[in-house]
């Protein structure tokens, strides 16, 4: 089933990269195909007072780091986007064909009440590789109270997760890229500047933005596989490789998630949803499970922390993300929150910044992304495996330099 995506004409990986990898010693490669050193770039910004940020800001942040990407994927996510439909789930889709849309709408009709639907305006760029997907969004409410709903025995959120998983898994050519309240994901295959223009990112305003520019290492660059990868209100932008993917995938699949995006990064999204929403772990505890300390360092923690640390390592050993990563995580329940986390050995870059007035907080792969939009920002770096947490209405809850579990115990 998975391999259908590879063959799919509409959203397949352009052939060029494979060719120039073999010919990298040739001098006269067209400039746009020159092999470039790179890595993923991540950037995020959030206003603590909840005031809205134009998409132009995040576009500038991520494109400042354009040296990192190679044009095989980019994306944006905005929170606080639909104040008029804040109570409805916003399901945003990439359709490869009109048949895919029809089939999807048929499925949606069985599962949810459609409050509103609209075409997401897109502006295909000359420099991008066609064909382009049809982008559509639906504001929906689960059909609670119906016999089918009750028979599932699921909570409202889990019901929505199952709906998304079912469509992504079973409806050919239909990809639900975001399904949370008051947020939406805009992503695709292309450079960050192209994707920003494709969706006209500057038309949107949100209280928090995350973005990603991609340099795929071990998975194909394609529309639905770009970041942010989102389920419910969670979204994750990831720079790195999850070498423990097999183990992590086993854990999330046993919990009902389906991995359909052909990339290691999607397990990270499902792990956050599983641990924090379903298992109700505090964010710091979930972060510790993903990027745990060495046992010999755990030994030096005070009693209570040591017990918790050991329990987390044992209980969630399959949630341990081995390999290099730095991630930006967004959510809107209960408040719009940005989480920035680097792996336990700090093998990928991550810096934070806060504006002089303390209201705007930033996270990015490189300091220049922050300084390009906030010249007066003061910069700090989070510690390895130590999450920085910023919440609308509350401020910087953690800087990512504190002792583990601060605020999670007692």
């Amino acid at each position: 089933m998975e391999h259908d995506y590879y063959r799919s004409a509409a959203l397949s990986l352009p052939e060029a990269p494979r060719v120039f990898a073999e010919q990298s010693y040739v001098v006269d490669i067209p400039d746009q195909h020159k092999p470039r050193m790179g890595s993923c770039g991540i950037a995020g910004c959030i206003n603590i007072d909840g005031s809205l940020i134009s998409g132009a800001k995040i576009e500038k942040m991520i494109t400042t780091m354009s040296e990192r990407e190679n044009g095989l994927g980019s994306g944006f996510v905005a929170y606080g986007l639909f104040p008029d439909f804040a109570e409805e789930y916003c399901m945003q889709f990439l359709f490869e064909s009109e048949e895919a849309q029809e089939l999807t709408e048929e499925v949606l009709g069985n599962w949810v009440y459609m409050i509103k639907d609209e075409k997401v305006p897109t502006y295909p760029q000359r420099s991008m590789n066609p064909p382009f997907p049809l982008v559509w969004r639906y504001f929906v409410r689960p059909k609670k109270g119906t016999e089918a709903y009750i028979r599932t025995g699921l909570s409202e959120e889990d019901y929505m997760v199952r709906l998304v998983m079912s469509i992504n898994d079973a409806v050919p050519g239909s990809h639900c890229v975001s399904s949370g309240k008051d947020m939406a994901v805009f992503k695709g295959s292309g450079y960050a500047r192209e994707i920003a223009k494709f969706y006209d990112i500057q038309r949107y305003k949100g209280s928090m933005w995350l973005s990603h520019s991609r340099f795929p290492t071990n998975s194909p660059g394609w529309w639905a596989g770009s970041h942010p990868i989102s389920i419910l209100d969670w979204s994750v932008c990831h720079n790195g490789e999850i070498t423990s993917y097999g183990v992590n995938r086993k854990l999330v699949e046993m919990a009902g998630y389906k991995c359909t995006l052909l990339t290691d990064s999607e397990v990270v999204t499902y792990l956050w949803d599983l641990m924090v929403r379903r298992h109700r772990l505090p964010v710091t505890a979930a972060a510790f499970a993903m990027a745990p300390w060495y046992y010999r360092d755990i030994e030096r923690l005070p009693d209570e922390e040591r017990r918790l640390a050991n329990q987390l390592r044992i209980t969630y050993k399959e949630a341990f993300l081995n390999g290099p990563f730095s991630i930006l995580v967004g959510r809107s329940e209960p408040a719009v929150t940005m989480i920035a986390l680097a792996d336990r050995k700090k093998l990928r870059p991550l810096v934070m910044g806060v504006s002089d007035d303390g209201n705007s907080v930033y996270a990015a792969s490189e300091e220049c992304a922050i300084k390009s939009v906030q010249g007066d920002a003061s910069i700090w770096a989070t510690r390895a495996g130590n999450p920085a947490i910023v919440k609308v209405g509350e401020g910087i809850v953690r800087r990512g330099t504190e002792a583990p579990f601060l605020g999670a115990i007692g």
């Binding site: 494109t63 400042t64 780091m65 354009s66 040296e67 360092d297 030096r300 050995k345 700090k346 870059p349 810096v351 490189e366 300091e367 220049c368 992304a369 300084k371 390009s372 910069i379 770096a381 510690r383 390895a384």
Partner: protein
């Protein structure tokens, strides 16, 4: 004369025809042009993340002043001259530096001084993870890295030679993280303010300071004080980290001796 003064300053924030900031390739091309023209002083304004700035500069009289945030690999393969940054430097500053001097009036990011083999790097503030990873020395030529504040884990990892000094100014407790000198087999790390044994990585050990060490540290502090116009309190004790052995992993992977 007019050409001379025009060349002395490059505005890296200048927009190109498409409205993008100056590309790093274009910026570096212009820098090389200035250097080739025989100028020995250059000011870069509004630098915003452009990479590889002044890499492989060789003119020992060259002096490059950077305002803004230079990108990764600042001064890579530097072979002579002075780079002075008024702001923070990003990751991989002084990558494989061979000679010359880099002075950062701010913080520097991860892997500062990666594989350096000569020259001097002075950072006024803090630095990140893996500072001085795999630096080396040969026949008396080696790099000197001085960090004014704190550094994070894996300081001097796989270090084969050279000198690192962490001053810990305005830092409470030890100014270095965990796994200090992990896998080191040459060189020396000085930590002003000290460190605990558990902070050492495998293959590293604490050693007593001798007269020669005191001289080396004193000389580096002199350079730091001069560069940043700061007085460093010299009464704070300095700890020395040394490799246990010149071949710490002898026999670990292959029993055959070379």
């Amino acid at each position: 004369m007019s050409k001379r003064s025009e060349n002395m300053m490059i505005d890296a924030g200048m927009r190109n025809d498409l409205g993008h900031p100056l590309d790093y390739r274009e910026l570096n091309r212009r820098i090389r042009e200035v250097i080739a023209s025989g100028e020995d002083r250059l000011v870069l304004m509004n630098v915003m993340g452009q990479r590889y700035i002044a890499s492989a500069t060789s003119n020992p009289r060259m002096r490059i002043e950077i305002h803004g945030t230079p990108g990764n690999d600042l001064g890579a393969f530097l072979n002579g001259g002075v780079i002075e940054v008024f702001g923070n430097a990003q990751d991989v500053t002084a990558n494989t530096m061979n000679d010359g001097r880099i002075i950062v009036h701010g913080n520097s990011g991860d892997i500062t001084g990666l594989a350096a083999r000569g020259g001097t790097l002075l950072v006024k503030g803090n630095s990140g993870y893996r500072v001085g990873i795999h630096i080396k020395e040969f026949e008396g030529k080696g790099p000197n890295l001085v960090i004014g504040g704190y550094v994070n884990d894996y300081l001097g990892e796989y270090m084969a030679g050279g000198t690192i000094l962490v001053l810990g100014l305005e830092v409470e407790g030890s100014p270095v993280g965990l796994h200090v000198g992990a896998g080191m087999h040459g060189g020396r790390i000085y930590v002003r303010g000290g460190l605990e044994k558990h902070q050492l990585g495998p293959a590293a050990c604490l050693a007593d300071m001798d007269e020669k060490d005191e001289k080396v540290v004193s000389n580096l502090i002199d350079q730091y004080e001069q560069a940043f116009n700061i007085k460093v309190d010299r009464s704070v004790p300095v700890s020395k980290v040394m490799p246990l052995d010149s071949r710490p992993f002898r026999g670990h992977y292959d029993s055959t001796t070379i």
